[in-house]
Symmetry: C2
Subunit: 192 residues, 2 copies
């Protein structure tokens, strides 16, 4: 019977990151991660499908926040307002703890092709979350798809700026300015 395991997901993800940094992503096993976290393999696989997923433990929260923010926005909100609302909402995931680990996490991802491919999948999942939530609001498909990609670009650019900044605050401001730049650049393409 599963015991109640407070913060098991976070403990597993933290243990994985620490071990990947100390050894290498390839050298570490799921068993070693669970030993470090003081949890069982069964517990690991309740939270993550495989070793790789521990590095992307935050994706589900981001996707949920995007869906929720777009679903909950006022009826009068236009497509751009919906993107802004979602980018504001995801800021809660960019905590000081995450900031402290950001460089380590990026170095681990960069070190392994499997993780780099998984990062690409994460970005696609974020674009898809924007697009699906916008389609649920009744937006036409071309608008929802384009807005999904621009939302993802703004999210990615803001994540990188936030990670590189010294203080770990201000995600929303980075996201708003990245979205502005993306929309301005897109609008300019209409003029050839």
């Amino acid at each position: 019977m599963a015991r109640w395991e407070p913060d098991a997901r976070e403990r597993l993800a933290d243990a994985a990151l620490a071990l990947f940094r100390e050894k290498s992503y390839e050298a570490v096993t799921v068993t070693q991660i669970t030993e470090r976290a003081g949890l069982t393999r069964a517990s690991y696989f309740r939270h993550f499908a495989d070793k790789r997923e521990a590095v992307f433990a935050g994706q589900d929260l981001i996707v949920d926040l995007i869906h929720q923010a777009i679903a909950d926005a006022p009826e009068t909100a236009g497509p751009r307002d919906l993107l802004d609302a979602a980018l504001d909402a995801v800021a809660v995931a960019f905590t000081p703890e995450r900031h402290a680990n950001a460089a380590t996490r990026q170095a681990i991802i960069d070190s392994d092709p499997e993780l780099r491919e998984r990062l690409t999948a994460k970005r696609a999942a974020i674009a898809d979350a924007f697009t699906a939530a916008l389609l649920d609001r009744g937006l036409p498909a071309p608008t929802a798809r384009v807005a999904g990609q621009l939302g993802q670009l703004a999210f990615t650019t803001a994540s990188q700026r936030w990670a590189a900044a010294p203080d770990g605050t201000g995600f929303s401001a980075y996201a708003r300015s990245a979205l502005d730049a993306a929309v301005t650049a897109a609008a300019a393409l209409a003029g050839r």
Copy 2:
């Protein structure tokens, strides 16, 4: 010593597709693919890194065509002209033979999570090809990144329409109209 093997890459990709359709992606081995194609395992691994890659044999050509078309466009070409030039150039990859296999290929990809993730990576590689080629032309980064995503969306939408059309022609026309729709939708986001 490697013999000269005319069309080895295409023969291997065709054999892989035929076997995946007859059995399933999971059930087929690289050895079976090489036996069907009348080639060696060494030959297979000269062309593809693993089993999965045989399904995406066309990606390198698409990426090369995008780079070349954007590099070769007249100096006066604006960002939108460069996207158009690349989408026109890739049309040569959309052959009648590819059209005949399009539904099979899509069904195989849909059947396996590994292949679905690889398709996501292909789309990202296409967006990256547009973006890198546009950066090489001296476009500012936000424009190149946004244009890369819109180019990829137009490519993906056009591929799907072309695959669904009965005659296997007209890729360029689908691509142009998909790009128009994407750019119009993007421009509308500037107005909230």
